[in-house]
Symmetry: C2
């Protein structure tokens, strides 16, 4: 568990946990549980939203809920599985899905991209998590489902639809990673706390590097506000350009073999 990553625990147990709706347990002897899995996940998410993913540990999550540390293990197999659960719960677009109904394909994709960026703003710890081995639960599937609805009334090969959705996810996540250098409160105790201080520390070195002449192209980009770019702007630039390319391609194929609507 050194690296917070999805699928770090036993994936079978993660899947059982995420899809627990599939196996409603019958009534059993013994006391009723004091907690629910949802409560634990929400407490962990709240902690992560507030202090970053590094602050999420079993002791503190338990303390947040007013129970002993080991009590959590009655509900969740381990920290790895809890992380998968957190990811799936926040990934659920919930009521967003309804809003996308009736939009055109481009509108839906733009809406998905925008709300994903907002999502990263609300849960910056999602950018700290290594997403290899995604554990697909109801939440993630709902998110993918939402993106796919863009092509509901269009004849796009499934394979291409997948490529498009992945591309958009890449664009949004990539720009979020590049520009959301969030100041997680967790590290405010560290030697350099704010983003501003961060760049300030690097400046003298960058200046010397450019002065050395080893980076001529970089040196030419020193003017104006070339570096003052926000996540929203960078994402929209990449997204718009990409969607222009898609639109051109769709237009071309429509001209090739005309089709009603």
């Amino acid at each position: 568990m050194a690296t917070p990553q999805t699928g770090a625990g036993d994936p079978k147990r993660s899947l059982e946990l995420l899809w627990r709706e599939f196996e409603p347990q019958s009534s059993r002897p013994g006391p009723k549980p004091r907690l629910t899995i949802e409560q634990i996940a929400e407490a962990a998410v709240a902690l992560a939203d507030r202090d970053g993913i590094a602050a999420v540990n079993m002791r503190d999550v338990a303390a947040e809920l007013g129970v002993g540390t080991m009590t959590l293990y009655r509900y969740v197999p381990g920290k790895g599985e809890l992380l998968d659960l957190m990811v799936d719960i926040v990934s659920d677009p919930k009521e967003d899905a309804a809003r996308a109904a009736g939009m055109g394909w481009r509108e839906v994709l733009e809406y998905v991209a925008d709300s994903t960026l907002e999502f990263y703003q609300a849960h910056p710890w999602m950018l700290e998590i290594n997403q290899r081995r995604p554990v697909l639960g109801p939440g993630s599937l709902a998110g993918y489902e939402l993106a796919l609805t863009a092509f509901e009334r269009h004849t796009i090969p499934n394979r291409e639809a997948n490529l498009i959705v992945t591309a958009i996810w890449s664009i949004v996540t990539g720009t979020a990673l590049s520009y959301m250098v969030s100041d997680t409160p967790a590290e405010q105790g560290g030697p350099v706390s704010t983003e501003e201080e961060w760049w300030e520390a690097q400046l003298p070195y960058l200046e010397r590097a450019v002065a050395s002449g080893r980076f001529p192209a970089l040196g030419r980009v020193q003017d104006e506000n070339a570096w003052e770019i926000q996540a929203q702007e960078a994402m929209r630039y990449a997204l718009d350009t990409f969607l222009d390319g898609i639109a051109a391609r769709m237009e071309a194929s429509r001209v090739e073999r005309p089709k009603t609507t």
Copy 2:
């Protein structure tokens, strides 16, 4: 250090470490160092390439070099700074820069994207690392410099050049994240080791989810080889589409205000 991320250590000390070329130390009393900073970084990189970033710990890196654990701290302030060093060292495009000379802008950008994908194949642990607070050292700057050379002979506003380079980085990194579900040897001891087993475990749940009717669009994408997509293909699709958009934009601006070459 729970989360392996750049800039986790003291950034000032990281910068001093990365830009150590700026301050060549004069001869000092005491024994000659047995190691060099490069050796340590390379040992750590080799370990990460082989077993993933989670396998990189001070004890094992030291053992790899045949020295005591604490000896490393004579050369490197701490693990966080070592990680920044590893990132910067592998980020250096080295001889790639020469090969890009003379290429057209699109060719350069495609070359950068392709070699970045290969880079992730060689160093999959770079995808496991959280890149917030990038510490800019000579290696990363050289990488950025290489991408910027694409616009050397074109009049593109600096701001836009930045947006394009970032977009390409997002596309490559995003698709790598999505499709390079690498089987890091480190976790081969775990309950599910190969990628195949991984998807196999998820399949029954996905089938039940689709069968439930809650994900109609997903259900429609069940045919053919819609899900069999490789990183290379996904990246090229997104990249080509994006570059098409850029080309169209450049063409439009050239028509607007004609310019020689």
